[in-house]
């Protein structure tokens, strides 16, 4: 059986590790280390290589969930992790100063992968900021032609993570161009 990989990326603190923990059948494998920069004001640890979780399908096949580091200096890991991936979820933290610029950065860096597959955008920490509106996120995606899903999510909730993966699967099945 070939390896089935889904990739979750997004801003530091957006909840990539939490999302994987919410849905993985096994305790997620983490590569957290102490934060030594401004991010320390928000969180004590950050992912520097990858997070890893898994789901088992009814025929025994595994679906692997990989979380990337969020910071752009770990771009080399992004390129490694998307190899052979089925699709991408981008989590954007609305409590950060410019969530739309954050989204643009990930869209640009994962452009080739998104062209080949598909993407779902999960907007997180809505309780801390009601802006930007979902319409503004959709405007940023307009240039792609395809209408990718943008959902407000609470990644601590398994159902929300399931919804993002389901929407991604539907996008891959029915709207891959």
């Amino acid at each position: 059986m070939s390896e089935i990989k889904l990739i979750i990326t997004g801003t530091p603190g957006a909840g990539k590790t939490t999302a994987i923990a919410a849905i993985s059948e096994t305790p997620p494998v983490r590569t957290d280390t102490a934060t030594t920069d401004d991010l320390a004001e928000v969180k004590d640890v950050t992912t520097v290589a990858m997070d890893f979780g898994e789901l088992t399908l009814d025929d025994g096949q595994k679906v692997f969930l990989y979380g990337t580091p969020g910071q752009q200096r770990f771009e080399f890991m992004w390129k490694i992790l998307v190899q052979g991936g089925l699709g991408l979820i981008i989590l954007v933290d609305c409590s950060r100063p410019d969530p739309l610029a954050d989204l643009d950065m990930y869209l640009e860096n994962f452009a080739d992968f998104i062209h080949q597959t598909g993407v779902v955008v999960g907007v997180t920490r809505r309780d801390q900021s009601a802006t930007p509106s979902l319409d503004e996120f959709y405007e940023r995606l307009e240039a792609w032609g395809r209408v990718f899903p943008v959902f407000e999510v609470d990644v601590r909730q398994k159902d929300d993570v399931s919804l993002m993966i389901s929407a991604l699967i539907s996008t891959l099945e029915f709207a891959t161009a």
Binding site: I4, L55, T56, L57, D58, D59, Q61, V63, L134, D135, Y138, G145, R146, V147, F148, P149, V150, F151, E152, V153, D159, D160, S162, L163, I165, S166, A167, I169, S170, T171, L172, E173, F174, A175, T176, A177
Partner: protein, 328 residues
């Protein structure tokens, strides 16, 4: 009402045929519905399917059935009615109207071609009560008051909001109330019980579920069934997450160039009335755009070159298994 069955059609062609019959019915002289083989007025025979054809010829088919040969090339068969592959809405309508004309006499023969005024045949346009979705689509400035025996919902069309009185059932369940038990009144004022109400909510979920549940399997009058349909954004998660069909339809309508009804039928096995309800719901909530392709050759049934090939079967199976694992 007339019925039609098929023999030897591929699953894809059968789905396309069913979708066309459901969605283009108002453009034929009589209402045609798909039914299992055996008791129908007409049968579409895929003459490229030699096994099915031989079996049909050998088993002394019912002579009262009107056969329609459906083939990719001319075939030597004593059949009066013929369709060339792939299905085209206009051709199908023409053949069905010809059959109707022959059965009902020459004075109707002039209607054999699709009629521009076909909407006049739709009951709700000729005096009967239109489906609630249509009433909402046409309500711009007034209030619509929807009442069942124990619950009332007031839609403020101008301000895109709604309020509920005595809510017992969730919106969707309420809208499943049988049409004859749901009183719909258009009014200029909110009316009794709603004066000074401050519990207004965004009307998006109400409009969505009205589209989904109260469309009577008919596209809104403002929508052309031969258009390419595309959504501007995905519906809110709460409106689609409990149905895989809605996720699939959202994805189909997300394609760069949108999608036709026939392409939906070809790519999925979603029932035509579910498709209609979804498209109406998208229209009522303002997230639908359409592009008319009537005059593009083969546009109704042939996907544009830029659109994706359907996912490979191996992936289809994989996607289904992942969905099953994620059941929401």
């Amino acid at each position: 009402m007339r019925t039609i069955s098929s023999v030897g059609l591929s699953q894809k062609d059968e789905n396309v045929l069913k979708a066309l019959l459901d969605l283009l019915g108002a453009r034929t002289r009589e209402a045609w519905h798909y039914a299992p083989a055996g008791t129908t007025d007409a049968v579409i025979l895929d003459t490229d399917n030699r096994d099915a054809l031989a079996q049909w010829l050998a088993h002394g088919h019912d002579r009262t059935l009107t056969p329609i040969a459906y083939a990719s090339a001319p075939i030597d068969l004593p059949v009066e009615h013929r369709l060339t592959k792939p299905f085209r809405a206009a051709d199908l309508i023409a053949v069905l109207n010809t059959i109707s004309s022959r059965d009902t006499g020459p004075e109707s023969a002039e209607t054999a071609e699709p009629r521009e005024d076909a909407e006049a045949d739709i009951p709700f346009l000729s005096g009967a009560i239109p489906p609630l979705a249509q009433q909402v689509a046409e309500c711009r400035t007034r209030y619509l008051r929807l009442s069942s025996a124990r619950q009332t919902v007031l839609l403020d069309c101008a301000n895109k909001r709604f309020a509920m009185k005595h809510p017992e059932l969730p919106l969707r369940e309420f809208l499943r109330t049988a049409p004859d038990q749901l009183d719909v009144v258009a009014c200029d004022q909110p009316g009794a019980g709603f004066e000074g109400i401050d519990s207004w909510q965004s009307d998006t979920p109400l409009r969505w579920w009205i589209g989904v549940e109260c469309s009577s399997a008919r596209l809104l009058r403002s929508l052309d069934s031969s258009s390419r349909f595309k959504i501007l954004r995905w519906p809110e998660p709460g409106l689609i997450k409990h149905s895989q069909h809605y996720l699939s339809l959202s994805a189909l309508l997300s394609r760069k160039s949108g999608v036709t009804l026939a392409e939906i039928a070809s790519a999925s096995s979603i029932a035509a009335d579910v498709v209609t309800g979804f498209i109406n719901a998208a229209s009522l909530t303002g997230i639908l755009t359409t592009r008319t392709v009537k005059n593009e050759p083969g546009a109704v049934l042939a996907p544009p070159a830029a659109d994706p090939a359907p996912a490979a079967p191996v992936n289809k199976g994989l996607f289904a298994r992942i969905r099953a694992r994620l059941t929401l």
